[in-house]
Amino acid sequence: MKQKKEFDYFDRPETIKKLWILLYVVCVLTTVPDFFTERHAYFGIDGYFGFFALLGFISCAVLILFSKLIALVLKTKEDYYDR
């Protein structure tokens, strides 16, 4: 009996490439409505074009870099408390 071929769609390099393109397209598309809509801004800066996109990018990058930095001090071997 022939074995059923395993579903491995997300392992294929061409899928990963497609997903990358999709991600970039989505990122660009989300800023498009900013051309057409007037945003009610509470603080001024939240009314600028692409503000939330920039905020998302910067804050995530900073969070990751900061956690990497702090890891230098905080990361330790798994058996740390057993020693």
Partner: protein, 587 residues
């Protein structure tokens, strides 16, 4: 009248009957109990009942208003789903512990006074410990021990605060606190221990991931959320909570990013999410208090869903570290789909429940023109997508295939996850039923074009950063030191320091006093008379012309005479006189 029966009593008394049921009947029984409690709560009329006079206090076991009801609904709803999830379980101890735990959580929520609240608060701590112990590993025992000790500490703070507060006000009623003094601050600290606010939070990521598969699901909902309820009731508008909440949101993200164990990621993400609620309470407007309650409601659902999907993976593979997992989408597609819905909801993607609830808190901040609070909450929202929204599903179900082929988890688990996933989307698309049961009237529209676009921008760019920085996020087999270090390693350091310092003093004293001074005193009492006598006689003899052998001979005979106590009477009398003079001079 059945309508006025305390739902807490239903679950706690119901727990006592669990051992009388066997096999599947027992599992059906524990599913039906919270469903009954849910119905009971829906029938409760606003007001106070079940007042009992006890040791000079008028206790109120059932205080019903919109706030207690919304928490009552979600506590029983989640219990219902959690017991469906644990249908496979053949352990009546765990079922009983869970029912006691959930029952006492309901007891806290419906308690009208602080004495009965405190009672249920402590029952909750004890009952929940058994859900950790039930894992029956050495690690679980250790963290259960630490868990209960931290909660005893928190409970003592709460108790001390209550005693001071009741003494000052003469009332045990539990309502919004306005006085800011030692009493109320101690109460606040006691509650914040349960809310897992840093630095008193480390019990959570230490213990929940060590609990059983189903224990983790149940634990994730009640302890922290009863704390949120208590804060909404007792401390609305306390500005310090804004600071505490904002710290929690960021703290949870940083640690979750460093974490390797999937259930520890979820544990840290509880701290992050509760941070949003605590901030909402601190802002204290009707909108933000509604937001805190709504977010607690939705959070319990999607967080339980995430713990369920992580639990299924643990149940099927026996593994929980990201470094051991990966590629599970091939064999656990349903767990992946439901887990991802939970992950999207926690990230408040539009059309999920997180979007309709968290927005109330964030908009609560911007309506009050709290710029920094608003900014931190937005940053934290982006961070949630990183650590819980993408990191958890990505490393567990995708990333690198580790060759695990566990197959899909059992049916009851899938049904429970499906039910909660449905609620996540339902409340995302149609939040009205939730808004209707919130403590204050809601005039809020989450779905405006601005708001949806802003959220989509924030999240899609967060996703982009995640994948651009993927190399930096690669998991390593490590843990991160947190504040539990102080009582886990700090205890040993304390022991070491005490050993070195106090025992050092001891050793020093022993050397100086026991060995040194005592010996000196002994030598002195034996040889003192001889030294004194010879000290006087030798110069005299030298002056009188005694030299060499003869002088030596005199010295020897005198020494021998003094040591044996056979000195001539004259010398003895002279010595006694000298001693008396010395003593006289000294005194």
């Amino acid at each position: 009248m059945i309508g006025d029966f305390p739902p807490a009593a239903l679950l706690i008394l119901g727990a006592l009957l669990v051992p009388f049921f066997k096999g599947n009947a027992r599992n059906w029984y524990v599913i039906i109990l919270p469903a009954l409690a849910f119905y009971l709560i829906s029938q409760l009329q606003p007001g106070s009942s079940w007042q009992i006079h006890f040791f000079g206090f008028d206790l109120t076991f059932l205080r019903v208003d919109k706030l207690s009801k919304v928490f009552g609904y979600i506590f029983t709803l989640n219990a219902f789903a959690a017991f469906i999830y644990s249908f496979y379980l053949k352990d009546s101890t765990q079922h009983m512990a869970a029912l006691f735990y959930i029952g006492s959580a309901l007891g806290v929520v419906f308690a009208g006074d602080m004495v009965s609240l405190y009672f249920f608060w402590e029952v909750m701590a004890v009952a929940s410990t058994f859900l950790i112990l039930a894992r029956k590993t050495e690690k679980a025992q250790g963290s259960a021990m630490r868990y209960i000790l931290v909660h005893i500490f928190g409970g003592l703070c709460l108790l001390a605060g209550l005693v001071i507060y009741i003494n000052q006000t003469g009332s045990i009623a539990f309502d919004a606190m306005t006085d800011r003094n030692l009493g109320t601050y101690l109460i606040l600290i006691g509650i914040l221990v349960n809310a897992a606010a840093p630095p008193m939070h480390a019990w959570l990521p230490d213990s929940y991931p060590e609990a059983t598969v189903t224990g983790g699901v149940i634990l994730s909902a009640y302890t922290t959320k009863t704390a949120v309820y208590t804060l909404i009731r007792g401390f609305p508008g306390w500005e310090i909570l804004i600071v505490v909440g904002c710290i929690m949101t960021i703290y949870g993200i940083i640690y979750a990013l460093l974490e390797n164990d999937m259930r520890r990621i979820l544990a840290y993400s509880i701290i992050n999410q509760v941070g949003f609620m605590v901030t909402g309470v601190g802002i204290g407007t009707m909108m933000s208090l509604n937001g805190a309650a709504a977010h607690a409601f939705c959070h319990i659902i999607y967080k339980a869903l995430l713990w369920m999907s992580a639990g299924s993976v643990l149940y099927m593979t026996g593994k929980s570290k990201c470094t051991d997992l990966g590629g599970l989408y091939k064999t656990m597609p349903w767990t992946l789909i439901f887990g991802t819905i939970g992950a999207l909801a926690i990230s408040s993607v539009p059309a999920t429940s997180g979007f309709t609830s968290k927005s109330l808190i964030i908009d609560g901040a911007s309506h009050e023109h709290l710029f920094w609070v608003w900014l931190i909450l937005e940053i934290a929202s982006a961070g949630v997508f990183l650590h819980a929204g993408i990191k958890f599903p990505y490393f567990v179900f995708f990333a690198k295939d580790k060759g695990l082929r566990p197959g899909e988890t059992n049916k009851s688990m899938l049904i429970a996850m499906g039910f909660l996933a449905f609620l996540c989307i339902f409340l995302g698309l149609y939040p009205k039923p939730l808004y209707d049961i919130l403590p204050y009237e809601v005039h809020y529209q989450a779905y405006t074009i601005n708001h949806v676009v802003a959220q989509l921008q924030l999240l899609s760019l967060s996703a982009l950063v995640f994948f651009l920085f993927l190399k930096l996020l690669k998991r390593t087999e490590t843990i991160s030191i947190d504040t539990d270090w102080f009582y886990r390693k700090g205890g040993r350091l304390f022991y070491y320091l005490m050993d070195k310092s106090l025992n050092g003093v001891n050793r020093f004293a022993n050397r100086v006093f026991a060995e040194g001074l005592a010996g000196f005193a002994g030598r002195m009492s034996r040889r003192g008379p001889e030294i004194f006598t010879l000290g006087i006689l030798i110069p005299l003899w030298s002056v009188s012309g005694l030299k060499g052998e003869k002088l030596q001979g005199r010295i020897e005979t005198t020494r021998a005479a003094l040591q044996t106590g056979t000195a001539p009477v004259g010398i003895g009398a002279a010595l006694a006189t000298i001693f008396l003079v010395i003593i006289f001079l000294l005194t």
